[in-house]
């Protein structure tokens, strides 16, 4: 069982709700993923429309845990205010904290991220910081009051998969007791399985499912991959060897002359 801020979670796949071809596909993909946590955002409401209908009405019917994000925020002030507004609407103190530092890579501004995390943690938020794979930044985020880390494995939406396995191993190894969710950059189920095999606690993804040819089928594939990677890690995998080793016993082999 995965424990995130004292909440027990069975599924180790967190799923984003953006970019699906239709609301029905979104709903079916969420169900197929077996996720218990979905991410949402806050955006401007159009005058005259009824809030809570449409997209949000559908999602609420699933009765899943919601992780609101601060996507698109570029400053500490924006991110903190967005988090406060999210708490007021969603009645949750969980927040996926994003403070973007670069338009092209959507790389987090880790300096602002740490500052915003400190402010929000002090204000009672349970912060899920979207960060890089930098070990020292991870340390600062924990000092700032985060109990969970969410390093990228590649830029958001890039589908490149784990780019720096050494850094990911390092961050995993240094904080064995901290729940670490790999967030962003995963493109295919084998990427998800690979990071779970490294010992990460969960995976958060969106585009890889939403933009798949068949999002519902892909959601199911990711659920299996995450489960397989997790199970493999705990089963303890064989380390690579330089030489071939026969799997069939050599002793008892017939001798034909």
């Amino acid at each position: 069982m995965l424990k995130l801020y004292d909440v027990d979670i069975s599924s180790r796949l967190l799923l984003g709700t953006a970019q699906y071809p239709s609301p029905a596909t979104l709903m079916d993909a969420i169900k197929a993923s077996q996720t218990e946590i979905i991410t949402v955002s806050l955006r401007r409401e159009m005058s005259g429309s009824k809030s809570g209908d449409g997209f949000w009405g559908l999602l609420r019917s699933l009765e899943l845990r919601v992780l609101p994000n601060t996507a698109g925020c570029h400053t500490v002030k924006e991110a903190v205010l967005t988090a406060q507004m999210a708490r007021d609407v969603f009645s949750t103190d969980w927040i996926k904290l994003e403070v973007i530092g670069n338009h092209d890579t959507l790389q987090p501004d880790v300096f602002a991220l740490v500052e915003a995390a400190r402010i929000l943690a002090k204000d009672g938020f349970k912060v899920f910081p979207y960060t890089t794979d930098d070990l020292v930044v991870a340390e600062r985020l924990l000092e700032a009051g985060c109990d969970v880390l969410m390093p990228w494995c590649a830029p958001i939406g890039s589908a490149m998969g784990p780019l720096n396995v050494h850094a990911l191993r390092s961050i995993r190894g240094h904080f064995p007791g901290v729940p670490i969710i790999v967030d962003a950059g995963i493109g295919r189920p084998s990427h998800a399985a690979a990071v779970m095999e490294l010992g990460f606690d969960a995976v958060l993804l969106n585009t890889a499912v939403a933009k798949a040819g068949n999002p519902v089928s892909m959601a199911s594939a990711f659920a299996k991959a995450v489960g397989a990677g997790y199970q493999a890690h705990h089963a303890v995998m064989l380390e690579p060897r330089d030489l071939a080793v026969p799997s069939t016993p050599v002793i008892g082999k017939a001798v034909f002359t």
Binding site: L26, V40, R43, M85
Partner: protein, 65 residues
């Protein structure tokens, strides 16, 4: 009174934030509001007086990754 609501200039008669939402036709329980970059909780909208030039943000749940 002129306000800037979600980036658009609006000429309204509402004196409080709650009345503004009503006047502009915002409905439902799923709204988050801020005035001049400060949170105004749902429970505080009725007592939050508005003044000329206030910048209002009205947000609602949307898709997110």
């Amino acid at each position: 009174m002129k306000l800037i609501v979600n980036g658009q200039v609006c000429d309204v008669s509402a004196k409080s934030l709650e009345m503004l939402l009503f006047e502009l036709g915002f409905e439902g329980d799923w709204l988050a509001t801020a005035v001049n970059s400060e949170l105004v909780r749902a429970t505080e909208r009725n007592s939050h007086s508005l003044k000329n030039g206030d910048r209002i943000e009205i947000l609602t749940p949307k898709q997110g990754g």
